[in-house]
């Protein structure tokens, strides 16, 4: 059996090695992230059978939990790690040709470290360790948002940094309270001891931690940074931030709320929060004329939908939510990547400037269309099974409040369809100027085709993923088996 700690250690070692590689050969550095993520992907695939049997618990340094730090590689963690390596691999292939100017070596290092931080967050079983890896994720994304060094990038990076730093401060205060109350930092240990203290004392730490993580995962009142940051970053980074970073934040929220605290009284509150985030995201997206801002607001909406699905806490809805999450990573990545080259070609981010793009860049436009259809949830693509599972699972609960919320979900889908259709109309049914056909570079096309194939394959054979996802959802919801497998 391979050791899952290599998922973190090898990319870190490679990242530390990049300056040495750089002094040997400048061309080689661009391929370091590709190599590291390929390695991670292969490792994840090799781990699947073992993890489906039993979650793997790795004690780092040989100290048993709660005394040492442990990694918990369950189906959910492995799903996220695999998703990160797959999406990261595709985007790193895309950015081989997309990133040409500026400090390229530093871009690739930061990119790799961002994904390593994300992997660390999803695998760790220790609260403070989660904070540390979260900081790696956040700091590298602050720097990457400002990568081009233009006015918008710097400004949005500042906004992001201030809000993110306050958020991580709140998270650290929450961790301090948790340590003061329980005397331990191991998540399984806290989950076991949670019944021994009064629930009212847990309220403030939980609010602080959820607020801290909520800044990164863009839950409603804390998402002011997101549209700016996602729209002014380089497109490859927008794809990663939308597809990976906020999902990882959501994972951390879910892990803390479900597994560590597990207080079922407040789940409905999170469902409301999710619906609020969904509606606000979709409405703001509808009002945008800038395509990247539109996609960024749409990410807020999708996060709200996934939060709603997770907060209902039945096996069906959580499976649907995770399916929607996978779909969002792929399709939002595809949307940002294709939009990146369309913006590059037309020189403007306004939707009106994309008129007639369907003739000038047919493949890129096709990729955009596939991503949009999949995100809306049209049947042949990967978005459909996820939304179907969420809606049917929520209706199965049979409560009046939840039925109303489901109605709002459907309404938001309609809004989403409308604004995506507007872009597609501009792409195919409006005449633009300049008819010369010029395709995106080969690496970018490869990345987009790979994502399209993944989306269609998941839409056609949802069963392929759904089985794995249902075991992942039981990993999230079944607190006792988590505790049992960590504290043997």
């Amino acid at each position: 059996m391979v050791n899952p700690v290599l998922l973190i250690a090898v990319p870190l070692g490679l990242a530390f090695m990049v300056p040495l590689i750089d002094s040997a050969s400048r061309k080689l550095t661009r391929f370091v992230p590709v190599a590291a993520l390929l390695f991670n992907l292969i490792l994840c695939i090799r781990l699947i059978p073992a993890v489906l049997e039993n979650p793997i618990v790795i004690n780092l340094g040989g100290f048993t939990p709660p005394f040492g730090i442990n990694l918990f590689v369950g189906p959910l963690g492995l799903l996220f790690a695999g998703l990160i390596s797959l999406a990261g691999l595709v985007v790193s292939i895309y950015s081989l040709s997309y990133i040409k100017n500026g400090p390229v070596v530093k871009y690739h290092m930061l990119y790799m470290l961002l994904l390593t931080g994300a992997t660390g967050v999803v695998l760790t079983g220790d609260l403070f360790n989660l904070f540390v890896f979260f900081e790696i994720l956040c700091i590298s994304s602050y720097a990457l948002v400002a990568y081009h060094g233009d006015r918008a990038g710097i400004e949005s990076s500042i906004k992001y940094l201030i809000q993110g730093t306050v958020g991580s401060g709140l998270l650290l205060i929450g961790i301090g309270f948790i340590y003061g109350i329980f005397g331990t930092l191991n998540m399984a240990d806290i989950a076991m001891k949670i019944a021994t203290v009064e629930q009212s004392t847990l309220f403030v730490p939980m609010i602080l931690m959820v607020a801290g993580l909520g800044v990164e995962s863009a839950i409603f009142p804390l998402n002011a940074w997101l549209p700016d940051a996602h729209s002014s970053a380089p497109s490859s980074i927008s794809a990663i931030l939308s597809g990976i970073a906020i999902e990882v934040g959501l994972y951390a929220v879910a892990r803390i709320v479900f597994t560590v605290f597990g207080i079922s009284d407040i789940y409905l509150f999170f469902a409301f929060l999710g619906i609020l985030t969904l509606l606000i995201g979709e409405m703001c997206a509808f009002a945008q004329s800038n395509i990247k801002r539109m996609l960024a607001y749409s990410s807020i909406g999708q996060i709200g939908l996934i939060l709603f699905a997770l907060a209902l806490a039945t096996n069906n809805t959580v499976t649907g939510g995770l399916f929607q999450l996978v779909n969002h990573t792929f399709s939002k990545g595809l949307l940002f990547l294709s939009a990146g080259y369309m913006i590059y070609r037309s020189g403007s981010m306004e939707i009106s400037s994309l008129n007639g793009m369907g003739k000038r860049m047919p493949l890129t436009s096709l990729a955009f269309t596939v991503g949009a259809f999949s995100l809306v949830g049209l049947p042949p693509f990967a978005g459909f099974p996820g939304k179907f599972l969420i809606v049917s699972g929520a209706l199965l609960k049979g409560e009046m409040v939840i039925n109303i919320l489901v109605g709002l979900v459907l309404l938001s889908t309609v809004i989403e369809g409308t604004y995506f259709f507007r872009v597609i109309q501009a792409l195919y049914f409006k005449d633009g100027n300049g008819e010369q056909r010029k395709q995106a570079p080969a690496t970018a096309v490869t990345a987009m085709i790979a994502l399209m194939i993944l989306i269609v394959a998941l839409g056609v054979y949802p069963k392929f993923l759904a089985d794995f996802l249902s075991s992942a959802s039981s990993d999230l919801l079944d607190k006792m088996s988590y505790v049992g497998s960590v504290l043997k």
Binding site: A9, G62, G68, F128, Y142, G149
Partner: protein, 231 residues
Amino acid sequence: MKSVFSLILLVVLGAGVVFTLSSIPFGSTSSDVGEYYIDSGRADTGATNIVTSVVVGYRAFDTLGEVTVLFVAAIGLGAILAAGRENEEKKKAEWEPASLVLYTGCRFLFPLILLFGAYVFIHGHLTPGGGFQGGAVIASAFLMVYLGCRKKRISRTWARNTESISGLVFVVTGLTGLAVGGHYFLSNFLPEGTLNTLFSAGIIPIIYIAIGLKVGSELTGVIDDLIEESE
């Protein structure tokens, strides 16, 4: 309006905090984990400074993450300062040279402070201090050189290579532990030696020296990047 709103927010936060703090009395609770570390930290890791044995022994993975955070910040700072620099007009900032007293003093103190920094991180497992503090002291020594005589600069390639080699030493030590030390990443595979001597505590001094060099060269690089910005 905004300040009133933020005051209300702070008052609510403060009330919640006071409520929760009442269940954490000051200075009387002790955690099981902490007691375990104090009781068996010396036997487990061989370091007399229990904080060190927690930082580089029990929670070494955190430390790896933390070194990475600093690394990320140093690279990010370099990227931000470098981005778009080429298409800006160069402006020569005038600056006052340091006085002779400061120049001589800095030249005299530089090796002493460097030595002191090295002492701090080499003795990390015996006395207070360790990689971060020692690294910060070393970076301060270089900062003092920049303050005293600005023309003297350390070579960037040298600093970068120190940084990446010491980072690699950390990761490779961990992987060696994975290979030979009973299949645990970062496990202590070297003999622990006698307590309270310099050559004890297995891999802890090695890791602390690596951290010290890495933190020192990274912070020096940060200061160097910032100072270079105006030239």
